[in-house]
């Protein structure tokens, strides 16, 4: 194969698809007119190109029922996928609200107990203060009162806190 044949054959594909610059196209065309071997080669290539252009667009053409089945699957998958796409935000939001509410209710006995204990009438003086001023024998009754009244205050607070806790529609605490 001489240089002209080589030049032509490396450009035949571009020539077929009209992709060559004008100058190259002219040279290839001139050579094809004068070289029977390259002309025959070109005709086969041209045939193949036309063949592919004609046949490949109809290759693997689907049946309508295939596309309908796939479409049904696509719809089903998109409908399922819509749930995780839209659900997470509200559900996470509700979870955080639920956690805050739960923490408030857990804290309620302590908070209400303390506040109610503070709102009770002052307790009798503590034993340590009494110890300085009074005799050891005089300590007993106030200490007992102090302990008793403190327990009663806490008990009342807990009872009232339980009232607050009853309507909570959450699972019972562990």
């Amino acid at each position: 194969m001489n240089w002209d044949c080589h030049y032509t054959r490396t450009r035949l594909h571009g020539y077929l698809n009209r992709e060559l610059p004008v100058q190259e196209r002219r040279l290839v065309g001139q050579h094809l007119d004068n070289c029977p071997q390259c002309q025959a080669f070109y005709q086969r290539q041209r045939l193949l190109s036309r063949d592919l252009e004609r046949e490949l667009p109809r290759f693997g053409m689907p049946q309508p029922y295939q596309l309908q089945q796939v479409w049904a699957n696509v719809q089903a998958q998109l409908a399922l996928g819509a749930l995780p796409n839209s659900a997470p935000m509200p559900s996470r939001w509700w979870y955080s609200v639920a956690v805050v509410v739960l923490m408030l209710f857990l804290a309620l006995p302590v908070v209400s107990g303390r506040s109610r204990a503070h709102m009770l009438p002052p307790l009798p003086p503590s034993p340590m203060l009494q110890y300085k001023t009074a005799t050891p024998t005089a300590l007993k009754p106030p200490v007992q009162v102090a302990l008793f009244s403190q327990t009663a205050a806490v008990q009342r607070a807990v009872t009232s806190a339980k009232l607050y806790n009853t309507p909570v529609p959450l699972p019972s605490q562990p």
Partner: protein, 201 residues
């Protein structure tokens, strides 16, 4: 190019996409109707297997519709965007397909008697043009198959082929050229008559 039944009008497509993004269900159905056939042909031509092609078409549209808001018409045509998604999914299957083919051929060699003595010409004349094309495509490497199918089967420009195949345009051009050359060698020994017969359609 000649026969591309599913080439839609760009403006109409843009309008459908806008409607779909706005939540109109009918727009999704119309987009599917316009492009599904082309995507299926592409997938089937690359995978040469009906079941796999259907799976990839499904995956492609589910992905595309979920990410429709991200599609940028200034960057690529909708068809090119869909094809890019489809080709990347086909590529995930090539390796698995090769392993399956290997298994089947081993099975056949183990269980079947020696093939009948038939001349290639005799076998060939009984087969349709589409079957001949199928066999020829199957003998190309996946890369060359992609190039030639996108070029001749879907009429994409080299710039678009490069985009879909994720390669430089010069590479896309040389792949189409190489695929053409290999198909020439694959189809021509089967008979000049075939090529001439094709032109009678």
């Amino acid at each position: 190019m000649t026969l591309f039944p599913e080439v839609p009008d760009d403006n109409a497509t843009a309008q459908l996409i806008a409607q779909a993004v706005a939540g109109e269900q009918q727009a999704y159905a119309e987009l599917y109707e316009q492009f599904a056939s082309g995507v299926y042909r592409l997938c089937y031509s690359l995978l040469l297997n009906t079941h796999d092609a259907e799976d990839v078409v499904q995956e492609t549209f589910v992905y595309a519709f979920r990410n429709l808001a991200r599609y940028d018409a200034n960057k690529s045509a909708f068809k090119t965007w869909l094809y890019t998604i489809a080709v990347s999914r086909c590529r995930n299957l090539y390796r698995r397909q090769r392993m399956l083919t290997l298994d089947i051929s081993q099975l056949l060699h183990a269980n079947l008697a020696a093939p009948k003595q038939e001349t290639p010409e005799a076998v060939f004349t009984q087969r349709s043009v589409q079957e001949a094309l199928r066999d020829a495509l199957a003998k190309l490497s996946p890369t060359l198959r992609e190039a030639v199918v996108l070029r001749y089967g879907h009429g994409l420009a080299y710039r678009e082929i490069a985009e879909v195949m994720n390669c430089p345009q010069k590479t896309a051009e040389s792949r189409v050229r190489l695929a053409h050359k290999q198909l020439h060698h694959l189809l021509l020994p089967l008979g000049q008559g075939l090529l001439e017969e094709l032109l009678q359609f």
